[in-house]
Symmetry: C2
Subunit: 295 residues, 2 copies
């Protein structure tokens, strides 16, 4: 059986199911935005994330190289933010076609560097390899969060309000190369102590919300009329385009009013919208209704 | 200017030179086998490494998938070993062609898993992405070493004896897919406190020894007649084939006898050979005489 059509979630679920867990310091393994490692005696938990972007899939050969570099690092930073963490140290692997120009690589790296400087991430290592195929950038990122305070996907509860930051859809027209990872927002949200579950939106709300709900063992309902749609995008796009890199989070209705009030004071320029709720019954849907599927 | 012919070392040196270093906890950044992160109050330093292998460069499409997986993880483990560290948590990114079979991916992953189980590394996360080009496996690995005890490349001193573990050359006939990373050996060597500089041999002695010497600000001399050549390989191959994944290390001549004596007691099945010495004068050679160049 070929990968095409098999489904990324299904493949990953299967591969991960066979992994052995023998290191007791691993608090969260595969399946969330980041892995969480707890060290005895430390007031911090470590967050580990890896992410790759590939030419022809996540960026076109014609895309400005500096923006490709920015995107490569910011995608991983977004995942650290979605745990309520602080991004710190990155390793960058460049897989380069031989006919790529040295100038292109320099611009790519300048974009990576710019993102690192902007978000406090130091590039501590990496490597370059040649590839006969598509150019790729693989980033791994280490971050941290106060011990036991990582916000996971699986903490959602029936009755929770579902919220998103910013606007969704139409990312392909430029946002996907220039987005701002919501890391200070995620960190602030985590510190409130009110957020039950959080993740970043990379494959589109229609794929990602069911993932959060499944991890939490609950169902979900969307209020489609209030989903914040990016100018020029459609509701369908807001659900399925992907690459929004906004935060998806849930909170009890009790804490919702004070969250919204404090949010607008701290982040006056970024919307935080209630778009649905978690429900008691889990949906039965082995495959999502929409959203980006890698295979 | 195209990458081909530009030289990997030159490109990497240039990219790295522009990086800003603003995180004071970063004890060692790019340029060694691993990055070293020091945390206040911890008795451990963290080691971070990333490494990728690409179809058509590091493995053939026809290579057994389980061995490809083994190789992918073991390369990174080898780098942790070369710092005297302990390998712990891995993130694995698979870049897969759509026409790859699900069975192939399962076998690949079983090889990764086997290497993890063998060397105490837990797979804590990762992702799969589609690629229109060559399949790749990108691994990032977190490890640790007792605080301040990482063995770097730059500690070599003029007069040091230069040693290697095992035999060199001819890796392409199978060793490169089945090798045993020298992580327990590296850890033991680091703990002796006698090793001035250490790295793993990935691009061949003719490329890697000059790197160690340059980092240490010294020159080097090889005793070619005593270089341990793998059965069926040539001296030239031992110098330039690459992918040996043996340890290259230096030690003062004073400590050499007791090292050799203790080594043979702890590792009776693996040779440790004196193959040269470090000399006072740095060589002038912007490009290596041999060894594997990625571009």
């Amino acid at each position: 059986m070929k990968l095409a059509g098999y489904g990324e979630d299904r493949l990953v679920t299967e591969l991960v199911a066979n992994l052995r867990h023998f290191r007791k310091e691993v608090a969260v393994g595969p399946g969330d935005d980041c892995a969480v490692i707890t060290e005895r005696g430390s007031r911090w938990d470590q967050l580990l994330k890896t992410d790759a972007i590939v030419e022809g899939v996540h960026f076109l050969s014609s895309a400005p190289a500096a923006q490709v570099g920015w995107k490569a690092l910011c995608r991983a930073i977004s995942d650290i933010g979605a745990m309520g963490g602080e991004a710190r140290h990155a390793l960058v692997t460049l897989g380069l076609r031989e006919d790529v120009s040295v100038a292109w690589v320099r611009r790519l790296y300048s974009g990576i560097r710019k993102a690192g400087d902007r978000y406090g991430v130091e590039i501590v290592g990496g490597e370059t390899v040649r590839t006969p195929g598509a150019t790729f950038v693989s980033v791994s990122l280490a971050g941290r969060v106060e011990r036991g305070r990582a916000v996971l996907r699986n903490g959602g509860r029936a009755g929770d309000a579902v919220l998103v930051t910013g606007k969704l859809g139409g990312s392909i027209r430029g946002w996907h190369l220039r987005f701002h990872p919501r890391v200070s927002e995620g960190r602030w949200l985590g510190k409130t102590g009110w957020i039950h579950a959080m993740m970043d939106l990379s494959d589109g709300l229609a794929a990602d919300l069911p993932r959060l709900a499944r991890a939490s063992g609950v169902g979900w309902r969307l209020f489609e009329e209030v989903i914040p749609v990016r100018r020029g995008a459609t509701l369908h796009g807001a659900l399925t385009d992907g690459e929004d890199y906004e935060l998806l989070l849930t909170i009890s209705s009790e804490n919702l009013p004070k969250l919204l009030k404090n949010w607008s004071r701290h982040f006056p320029d970024l919307s935080l919208s209630v778009i649905g709720e978690l429900t008691p019954e889990m949906h039965e849907e082995p495959r999502q209704a929409g959203g980006f599927q890698h295979f």
